[in-house]
């Protein structure tokens, strides 16, 4: 069966070039970078080289990069470390309603430990307003953490403007750039951020490795891990040299190919969006129509549910994802879609298609050819339609499944 992978925001295959350098560090350059001997020096050399590649990719200095076990750890480390060290200056942290859980839940956890948290709303495109941010800042604000690009709807936030605002008020700014890295330019000076998170497996590197950029002089301190003096006392534990080297290579390649790949993917994405909107009725595009990642298309299909669509697509070899409750492992549809004001019933019908290196224009035709009958079949089974006039409020089973249920 033909397989069309359209879930690159979930994860990506590791590129052969990356596997090659990684393998070399598993077998030959296996030394512990902290060891004095030849093997250790080889490991150290590989680590230094990787750090240079990652730093170059985002316009940072070598000593500003700390390797982590992935995006989640980098987000936790960034937020917690700033909060702990700046408690004497203030206790207010600002974030947005559409953050990844790695940020949102870290900030919320601090909210239970004496910090005050502001979660900024977003507009219908999932965009945070710079004005809202300006109004939310108080003299107690120590940290603002807002993602560069959203994983579920692809909307790119005005980080430059928001970071400038933070800087003018002496507030530290962190951004989670896990989704934007390799898809749009990510440069720490152009963005003006103090801390920035990236992850390996979203850019054709392996899982289990990421990096945190910490601008030189930033009031941040490692506050989560206790252990050895690795990463200049900023991240204890023997370095994941194969993963780190792979991250370095992946970053290098991502930046090299960014311009051409972004243009190519934008072309495929635009055709995908256009075809879906033309060939299927009662579909809405989610996220910003233009200020979105070049590889990202996301929709809500009315009257049908996301998991049913994913299962049906999988039977045709198409891999995608959904923000439906039924696919999240929780009973709530995506917090991102709800924050955008999308009603529960529509959020349950969300589908995210994220393109990558392996996708071609023909994949759009294959997708449309298969998706049209899938939607038709599920809609024929659905009791919902444009004319359905069920009195749902009366029929509500009072199930209390959903804490945010608006009935």
């Amino acid at each position: 069966m033909r397989r069309v992978y359209m879930d690159h925001s979930a994860t990506t295959p590791v590129r052969p070039e990356v596997v090659e350098v990684m393998l070399n560090c598993l077998t030959e350059k296996f030394g512990n970078p902290s060891s004095l001997h030849y093997f250790g020096r080889q490991g150290r050399g590989a680590l230094d080289e990787a750090r240079e590649k990652v730093a170059n990719a985002i316009g940072a200095k070598l000593e500003e990069i700390v390797f982590t076990s992935g995006g989640t750890e980098a987000d936790n480390m960034a937020i917690h470390g700033v909060a702990m060290l700046n408690q004497n200056r203030g206790n207010h942290i600002i974030t947005s309603a559409v953050e990844h859980h790695a940020v949102l839940n870290t900030v919320k956890a601090l909210g239970k430990q004496g910090f005050t948290v502001t979660i900024l709303p977003v507009d219908k495109y999932g965009m945070v307003s710079v004005e809202d941010l300006a109004n939310a800042i108080t003299d107690k604000t120590i940290l603002i953490t807002i993602m560069h690009a959203n994983n579920e709807v692809g909307t790119v936030q005005p980080i430059k403007e928001m970071a400038a605002l933070a800087k003018a008020r002496g507030i530290l700014f962190h951004t989670d750039a896990v989704q934007s890295m390799g898809k749009i330019p990510v440069n720490v000076d152009e963005l003006g951020v103090d801390l920035l998170t990236i992850s390996g497996h979203k850019i054709y590197g392996p899982k289990g490795v990421g990096a945190l950029y910490i601008r030189k002089g930033t009031r941040w301190r490692q506050s989560l891990f206790h252990g050895g003096a690795q990463e200049r006392l900023r991240r204890a534990g023997t370095e994941n040299v194969p993963g780190i080297v792979a991250l370095g290579k992946a970053c290098e390649l991502a930046v090299q190919e960014l311009d051409t790949e972004a243009v190519r993917l934008t072309g495929i994405r635009d055709k995908l969006i256009q075809e879906v909107m033309e060939k299927i009725a009662d579909v809405r595009l989610t996220g910003h129509p233009t200020k979105r990642l070049p590889n990202h298309a996301s929709f809500c299909f009315e009257f049908i549910e996301g998991e049913s669509m994913l299962l049906s697509m999988d039977m045709k070899g198409i891999a995608a994802s959904s923000g439906s409750a039924c696919t999240s492992g929780s009973l709530e549809p995506s917090h991102v879609l709800l924050a955008m004001g999308i009603p529960h019933e529509l959020a349950h019908g969300s589908i995210r298609l994220t393109l990558g290196r392996d996708n071609m224009m023909e994949d759009v035709d294959y997708f449309i050819k298969n998706m049209v009958p899938i939607v038709e079949r599920l809609r024929a089974m659905s009791p919902l339609n444009p004319d359905s006039e069920f009195d749902f409020e009366e029929n509500c089973a009072d199930c209390k499944i959903s804490s945010s249920c608006h009935l």
């Binding site: 009257f303 049908i304 549910e305 996301g306 998991e307 049913s308 299962l311 039977m315 439906s324 409750a325 039924c326 696919t327 492992g329 009973l331 549809p333 009603p343 529960h344 019933e345 349950h348 024929a380 089974m381 659905s382 009791p383 919902l384 069920f390 749902f392 029929n395 509500c396 089973a397 199930c399 499944i401 959903s402 249920c405 608006h406 009935l407």
Partner: protein
């Protein structure tokens, strides 16, 4: 994550549709929760002679709806009232734990349809 039986009922659902002159109609769930099931019954002499369903929901919701129609067809109303969500899930060789509550409402929809019929008979 789903059993072969669940996938079979999802791919080839039995008794999908509506019955225009149904004797009983049951509706449970809520689009807000992500699941809604509607069951239509044709009843003759206290026996379910025809049954159709329409469901908005995940794979488990569609499969349980399909299964309950298969299990209920030909049964007396009292027998059908004894079918439980649990027995529907068991007939499908089980459902993932997180689906047991949210998407396992098919027997409830069947019971609602029988209640609806009995109400009209009063």
């Amino acid at each position: 994550m789903y059993t072969d039986k669940v996938m079979d009922h999802f791919e080839n659902p039995r008794n999908v549709g509506e019955i225009a002159d149904a004797d009983g109609v049951g509706l449970v769930g809520n689009p807000t929760c992500g699941d809604i099931m509607k069951i239509y019954l044709k009843i003759d002499n206290d026996v379910i002679t025809d049954i159709k369903f329409k469901t908005f929901g995940c794979g488990a919701a569609i499969a349980t709806s399909s299964m309950v129609t298969e299990m209920a067809k030909g049964k007396t109303l009292d027998e059908a009232m004894r079918l439980s969500n649990q027995s529907v899930a068991e007939a499908l060789d089980g459902l993932p734990p997180q689906k047991m509550h949210c998407s396992n409402l098919a027997a409830d929809a069947l019971h609602a349809a029988i209640d609806n019929y009995r109400e009209q008979q009063k």
